[in-house]
C-alpha cells in the first residue's frame, strides 16, 4: 500500500476549471482563495505554440515541507499518510505558505489561519471521491493509491515533475501527471484565459 495521491491527465485537460470551482464550492471559498487552481501555460512560437493547463493542489507529499515548517503541529501527516491541517492548532504564522515549494497552503486573512486541500477527507472517509475527481468533464483527475494509479495507466509515461514545478526530490509529491510535450519546455509563460 503506497501513498494516496492525485493523477492528472494533462494531455486531455481543456482548462475548463470545473475542478477549481467545484473545490471552491465544497470548501466555500471567496474570490482570491483557491485550494485547487488551474493555470495555463504557453510556449513555442506561432504557428507551433505549446499550450497546456495544470491543475494545482496539495500533493500530499511524503516529505512535506509545510509539515516540517509548522511550529505548532497544525500541519501534520495523518494516519492515511495524507497531509492534513488542524485549524485549532494553527496560529496563522504562514511558515507553511513560505515553505511549500508548490505554493499550495493559502493564508486566510479573516480567519488568520491557513487552509488547503484535505483530499476531501470527510467525503473519502465515507467512501466517496474528492469533489474534483467527480467534477472533471474530461475525466482527467483520479485519486487513490499512487502505485495503483500508476499501474492503471501503464502506457502514459507518468511523471511527478514538469518544467513549471519544483524538483520532485524536494518533497516527494504523491503526484502523477500524464504530460503534454510542452510541459517539459522551460521557456513557458503563464497566461490568463
Amino acid at each position: 500500500m503506497g501513498k494516496k495521491g492525485f493523477y492528472f491527465d494533462m494531455a486531455s485537460c481543456i482548462g475548463c476549471r470545473t475542478c477549481q470551482v467545484a473545490c471552491k464550492d465544497k470548501n466555500i471559498l471567496s474570490v482570491g482563495t483557491l485550494f485547487r487552481q488551474v493555470r495555463s501555460f504557453e510556449s513555442g512560437k506561432f504557428p507551433k505554440p505549446g499550450f497546456y493547463h495544470y491543475s494545482y493542489t496539495c500533493n500530499h507529499c511524503s516529505n512535506p515541507k509545510c509539515v516540517e515548517a509548522c511550529p505548532t503541529g497544525a500541519m501534520y501527516i495523518a494516519e492515511d499518510k495524507t497531509v492534513q491541517h488542524d485549524d485549532s492548532k494553527c496560529i496563522g504564522c504562514k511558515y507553511c505558505t513560505w515553505n511549500c515549494p508548490y505554493g499550495i497552503p493559502q493564508y486566510l486573512t479573516d480567519l488568520d489561519k491557513v487552509g488547503k486541500c484535505n483530499m476531501c477527507k470527510e467525503l473519502t472517509d465515507k467512501g466517496e471521491n474528492p469533489v474534483c475527481v467527480d467534477a472533471c468533464v474530461m475525466r482527467c483527475i483520479e485519486w487513490g493509491d499512487v502505485d495503483e494509479l500508476r499501474a492503471k495507466h501503464p502506457d502514459q509515461g507518468l511523471v511527478s515533475e514538469i518544467a513549471i514545478l519544483p524538483s520532485s526530490k524536494i518533497t516527494t509529491p504523491s503526484l502523477l501527471i500524464n504530460p503534454k510535450l510542452a510541459a517539459y519546455e522551460p521557456n513557458c509563460k503563464q497566461k490568463e484565459v
Binding site: 464550492d25 471559498l29 505554440p49 468533464v137 474530461m138 497566461k191
Partner: protein
C-alpha cells in the same frame, strides 16, 4: 458580515427560512462586492456546518438553464432550506459508452449566480420615465432608479399596454423575445404584437442549409458519437466544443481520439478542443474560409485521377448532387454558370487555386494542397464546421461550399464519413432524440387550439400581417424612422420576396428572455434608437441587472428556476440521450416573482382571468411534461418514458387539466401509462438517460438512405431532391431580400469588413485605418451574456482580449496592458493576453460580456463585443459578429483591474 456568522446568528435566533435566504443573498453580495474592495471575507465552512443540522441535508436535482449547447445533471445539497454545496451526476458509474451527465464549470457555479449580488430584488421604475409618453427617454441607461411596489409596477405596465393598443394598435408593441415566452403568451392573449428575428448564432446556416440539402445543426448533419469513433481523420473547421458546448461534448472528442482518429483544426485561434486532441493547427485569417475551401476544391479537381490518385467520389457526385459542372445543371441554366468552371477560372480567367487562396486566407498553398489530398474519398473523414466562420459578411454560400467539398470527396452518408456542423447543440453526437422531453404546455396548446404557440399562430391579427422585424432593421429603421422591411415569416424560413416596405410605429418594447440590448451588433445604434426613437415605454422582466434591464423604464424582478416549482429542464434538445428533471430548491428571494405570476397579474388588470392566460397552473404543466416525455425504442418507435400510476394522477390533482381535456374532448393526458422509470425514480436521479453501446440501433449516420438510393429517399427540403451545388431557390430567396446578390452556386465575394478591407490599398498591401480583424469566440466564463457577473467564473476566466505576439510586439503591448479597441462603430477596453495561439492580424474578444459604457468617455469598459460590430445587412442579412475591423492602442485612462476584481453592476 461573513456567511459563517450569519448562519450562526440565524441558527441561534431561529429565524425563518425566507429571512435566511435574504441574508445569504446579502452575504453573497458582500462576497462579490468585498472582492472589489479588496477586503475579502473568508467564509468559514466549519462554522456553517456546525450550525446546520446536516442530518436534514438532502441532495436535490436542481436546474441549470443556460443556452450552452449541452444539458447536464446539477444537484444541490440543501440543509434547512439553504443550498450548501453542488454536485453533478452520480446516478450511475461513469464510462465512455454510458457516461455520467457531468456539469461544466458554469453549472457548478450556479449557486453564486442565483445568489449573486446583481439579483433584482424589487420592482422599479426609471426616475424620469412617465406614463402616457411623458418623461425624458434620453436618460435611458443613465437615469436613477426608484423602487416601487408590485401593484404600482403592474398598474403601470397594464395601463401602458392598454393605452398603446387603444391608440396605436397591437403592432405598436414589439416583444423582443424571438422565442415562445410567457411575455409572448401574454401578448397573444391581448391580440398579438410585433416580433423580430435574426440569424443570431447560426450564421449562414440559419436560412440556407435546407435549400441546398443539409441540416443546419449537428443534430442532423453530424453522425452520432459512436460512429465518429470510426473516423480516421476529423477536420474541425472553426469548432470548439470545449468552450461552446457544455457537458459531455468535449469528452466525445477524447473518446474519438482514444479510438485512433487524427485531428486537424482550421481556425484563427488554436483553441482548447484542438489542444486536447493534439490537432494539427492550420491558422487562417478570420472570414476567409471560403477562399481556402475553393483552393481545396481546385486541388481536388485538378489532381484527382480515378485510377492513380482517386480523390473525388464521382459516383456520389453523379447520383446524389446537381450542379457540379456544366453537364449537371438544371435545365435552362446558362452552362457557363457552374461550380467547376468557376473554380477552374474557365470563364473569368481567375483559377481559384491554392495560390489565389493564400493571398486572402494566409494559409500556404502547399498546406491547402496537402489538406485537400488528405481528405480524399478513400479515407474515413469527418468534415465538421461551426457557425463562427459563417457569422461573417458575405458567407451566404459558405454552407453550400463546405457541403460541396464534402460531396466531392464523398464524405456524406457512410459510416465514418460526414460533412456538416459539429458544434453547439448535439456537438459530436448527431441523430434524433432518444430521450424525448415531453411537450411543454406551449406545444400542447398549439397542437390543440393553435392559440398560444407564437404571435403568428391564431392571433387575432392576421397571420401575414404580424410584423416580423429583422433585428438590424429594428433599431435604425423601425424605432428611428418608423419603417421596416417585411420579409414574411422569417422565423419559419418562409421568406417572401421582394420584401415590402411598411410603416410601423413602435411605442413599447417588452421582454423576459433575450438580452436584446446586449446581443445585436452595433449597440450604440440600439442606445440611440432607445433614447431618440418612437418608444414610450420599455418593460423588462429579468432576474439580474442585465443591460436590457439597465436600459428599460420599468423593471420587474423575476425568479430563477431554482426558486420556482420543478419541471423538466429547458433546452432539452441540447442532449440526445438524456432528459432532466429539477426541483424548486429555495424560496424566491426578496420580492422576485415567477414570470407566469407577473404576466397573469398584468392580464388580470386588463380583464382576463388566470385561466385565460394559463389554463393549467405550473404543477399541472409539470405533469403534462412528465406524461408526454417519450423514449425512442430500438425498433424506432416512440413509447412513454415515465410510468404514471393512478396514484400519481391523484397526487397531482389535475383539476384544471381535467377541465381542459373536457373542453378539447380528449382525455389521453389523464391516463396512466407504463414507461421506463417511475416519477419517483426520475425525480431522485434528476435524469433519464438512454443506455447506449457501440453498434446499437441508435447509431446515426446522416443521409445514409439518401446516399444508398437518392431516388427512393430524396432530400425533402431541396427542389431537386438532391444536394444542390447549384441552388436556384436559395439564390432567389436571398437575392429577393434586396440587400445584395449571390449566385446559385458558391463564389467568392469580397466581404464587407473582411480581410481585404483591413487595407486601404489591398493590391499594394497598404494597411488602412482599422487594420485588425476581431473574432468573438463563445466563452467558457459565461454563456452568451448569461452568468456574466459570477465571481467564481470571473476569477477562473479573465475575459482578456487575445492579441497575437506578432501584433503585440509591433504595438509594444504586453500581457495585462489595458488595450483600447476602436472600430468605426464603438470602443471598448480589455486587458491584453499576448499569445502564440492566434493568427497575426486577428484579435479575439470573448463573446457576451455586458455593455458598460463610461458616461464620460462613451467607451465601453466591459469588453463588450457588440459595441464594435456593424449592423450592415448583405445577403440574407446574417449577423456578422466575426466581421469587425479595429485599430488597437494602449489605453491612456485608468487601467482595468483583473476581471475578478472588476465592479459588478448592481441596484438596490
Amino acid at each position: 458580515m461573513e456567511l459563517g456568522n450569519i448562519v450562526e446568528k440565524i441558527s441561534s435566533l431561529h429565524v425563518s427560512r425566507r429571512s435566511f435566504i435574504k441574508a445569504s443573498t446579502v452575504a453573497t453580495a458582500s462576497l462579490s462586492v468585498a472582492g472589489c474592495g479588496n477586503s475579502l471575507k473568508q467564509l468559514n465552512n466549519s462554522a456553517i456546518m456546525a450550525n446546520l443540522d446536516m442530518k436534514n441535508g438532502k441532495w436535490i436535482p436542481c436546474a441549470c438553464w443556460i443556452d450552452c449547447g449541452g444539458r447536464c445533471v446539477n444537484k444541490a445539497l440543501v440543509v434547512d432550506g439553504i443550498v450548501i454545496r453542488q454536485k453533478t451526476d452520480d446516478s450511475h458509474p461513469d464510462s465512455p459508452d454510458f457516461p455520467q451527465q457531468r456539469a461544466c464549470v458554469r453549472g457548478r457555479a450556479q449557486r453564486t449566480h442565483v445568489l449573486g449580488a446583481d439579483r433584482l430584488k424589487y420592482p422599479m421604475k426609471r426616475k424620469h420615465w412617465e406614463p402616457n409618453g411623458g418623461g425624458d427617454k434620453t436618460l435611458r441607461g443613465r437615469d436613477e432608479w426608484v423602487r416601487i411596489s408590485w401593484d404600482e409596477a403592474l398598474d403601470y405596465v397594464a395601463m401602458e399596454i392598454k393605452r398603446i393598443i387603444k391608440d396605436y394598435g397591437n403592432t405598436s408593441i414589439l416583444a423582443t423575445d424571438s422565442m415562445k415566452t410567457d411575455v409572448i403568451n401574454l401578448m397573444n392573449l391581448l391580440g398579438g404584437c410585433s416580433t423580430q428575428f435574426m440569424t443570431a448564432s447560426y450564421g449562414a446556416w440559419q436560412n440556407g442549409a435546407m435549400y441546398i440539402g443539409t441540416g443546419y445543426d449537428a443534430m442532423t448533419t453530424c453522425s452520432d458519437r459512436f460512429d465518429l469513433r470510426n473516423c480516421d481523420l476529423v477536420v474541425l473547421w472553426g469548432v470548439n466544443p470545449a468552450w461552446s458546448s457544455g457537458g459531455n461534448p468535449p469528452y466525445w472528442l477524447k473518446n474519438i481520439k482514444d479510438a485512433g482518429a487524427k485531428f486537424i483544426g482550421i481556425d484563427p485561434m488554436f483553441n482548447d478542443s484542438y489542444n486536447a486532441v493534439d490537432a494539427d493547427w492550420i491558422p487562417i485569417r478570420p472570414g476567409t474560409d471560403m477562399a481556402m475551401l475553393f483552393g481545396m476544391a481546385y486541388t481536388l479537381i485538378t489532381e484527382d485521377n480515378p485510377i492513380t490518385k482517386p480523390l473525388i467520389d464521382w459516383d456520389f457526385l453523379e447520383r446524389c448532387t446537381i450542379g457540379f459542372d456544366a453537364a449537371h445543371l438544371p435545365a435552362g441554366v446558362d452552362p457557363k454558370e457552374n461550380f467547376k468552371d468557376y473554380v477552374l477560372g474557365t470563364y473569368d480567367g481567375v483559377p481559384k487555386n491554392p495560390e489565389w487562396a493564400y493571398e486572402i486566407c494566409g494559409v500556404k498553398p502547399e498546406v491547402i494542397r496537402q489538406l485537400a489530398l488528405m481528405i480524399g474519398k478513400d479515407r474515413k473523414v469527418a468534415l465538421l464546421t461551426g457557425y463562427a466562420p459563417s457569422r461573417t459578411f458575405n458567407t451566404d454560400n459558405l454552407p453550400q461550399l463546405f457541403m460541396t467539398v464534402g460531396a466531392m470527396t464523398g464524405h456524406i452518408g457512410k459510416s465514418g464519413h460526414m460533412t456538416g456542423v459539429g458544434n453547439f447543440i448535439r456537438a459530436l453526437n448527431g441523430g434524433p432524440d432518444i430521450a424525448i422531453n415531453g411537450k411543454d404546455w406551449y406545444d400542447l396548446y398549439s397542437a390543440h387550439s393553435g392559440e398560444f404557440a407564437d404571435p403568428r399562430n391564431g392571433s387575432p391579427i392576421k397571420h401575414e400581417d404580424i410584423p416580423v422585424v429583422e433585428c438590424k432593421e429594428m433599431w435604425n429603421n423601425a424605432l428611428l424612422k418608423g419603417e421596416y422591411k417585411d420579409f414574411g415569416n422569417a422565423l419559419f424560413n418562409e421568406l417572401v420576396s421582394p420584401p415590402i416596405q411598411r410603416k410601423l410605429e413602435i411605442k413599447m418594447l417588452i421582454s423576459n428572455f433575450c438580452n436584446v440590448v446586449n446581443c445585436y451588433p452595433n449597440v450604440n445604434q440600439a442606445l440611440k434608437a432607445m433614447r431618440e426613437g418612437s418608444v414610450d415605454t420599455i418593460v423588462r422582466l429579468d432576474f439580474n441587472f442585465t443591460p436590457t434591464a439597465q436600459y428599460a423604464d420599468i423593471v420587474l424582478p423575476a425568479i430563477t428556476p431554482w426558486e420556482r416549482p420543478g419541471g423538466m429542464a429547458e433546452f432539452w434538445y441540447h442532449n440526445r440521450e438524456a432528459v432532466f428533471y429539477y426541483f424548486q430548491i429555495m424560496e424566491p428571494i426578496y420580492e422576485a416573482r415567477d414570470d407566469q405570476w407577473i404576466v397573469k397579474e398584468v392580464a388580470k388588470r386588463l380583464g382576463y382571468t388566470d385561466e385565460d392566460l394559463f389554463p393549467i397552473p405550473r404543477k399541472e404543466q409539470e405533469f403534462v411534461h412528465l406524461h408526454e416525455s417519450r423514449v425512442l425504442n430500438e425498433n424506432g418507435n416512440i413509447e412513454p418514458m415515465v410510468t404514471i400510476t393512478q396514484a400519481d394522477i391523484n397526487e397531482y390533482g389535475l383539476e384544471n387539466l381535467r377541465k381542459y381535456c373536457q373542453k378539447i374532448g380528449d382525455d389521453s393526458l389523464l391516463k396512466p401509462q407504463v414507461g421506463r422509470l417511475t416519477v419517483k425514480e426520475l425525480k431522485e436521479r434528476g435524469c433519464y438517460q438512454a443506455p447506449r453501446k457501440p453498434n446499437d440501433a441508435y447509431t446515426y449516420i446522416p443521409l445514409k438512405e439518401f446516399r444508398e438510393d437518392p431516388i427512393a429517399h430524396p432530400i425533402p427540403s431541396t427542389e431537386s431532391g438532391k444536394i444542390e451545388i447549384y441552388c436556384k431557390k436559395m439564390a432567389d430567396v436571398f437575392n429577393g431580400m434586396g440587400y445584395s446578390i449571390i449566385k446559385p452556386y458558391p463564389t467568392y465575394i469580397e466581404p464587407l469588413q473582411g480581410y481585404e478591407k483591413t487595407f486601404s490599398d489591398f493590391k499594394n498591401k497598404v494597411k488602412g485605418e482599422y487594420p485588425y480583424q476581431v473574432i468573438t469566440p463563445h466563452y467558457m466564463g459565461r454563456q452568451h451574456s448569461t452568468m456574466n457577473q459570477v465571481p467564481w467564473l470571473r476569477e477562473a476566466f479573465a475575459h482578456p482580449v487575445y492579441i497575437s505576439s506578432h501584433d503585440a510586439d509591433e504595438n509594444g503591448f504586453a500581457d495585462g496592458d489595458t488595450i483600447l479597441l476602436s472600430s468605426a462603430f464603438g470602443k471598448t477596453i480589455r486587458r491584453a493576453c499576448v499569445t502564440e495561439r492566434l493568427m497575426p492580424g486577428a484579435v479575439a474578444l470573448p463573446h457576451g460580456a455586458w455593455l458598460d459604457i463610461d458616461p464620460e468617455t462613451g467607451i465601453d469598459r466591459g469588453g463588450h463585443d457588440n459595441i464594435l460590430g456593424s449592423s450592415a445587412a448583405v445577403g440574407q442579412a446574417l449577423d456578422a459578429y466575426n466581421s469587425t475591423l479595429v485599430k488597437m492602442e494602449k489605453y491612456t485612462g485608468k487601467p482595468l483591474p483583473k476581471h475578478a476584481y472588476e465592479p459588478v453592476k448592481t441596484i438596490f
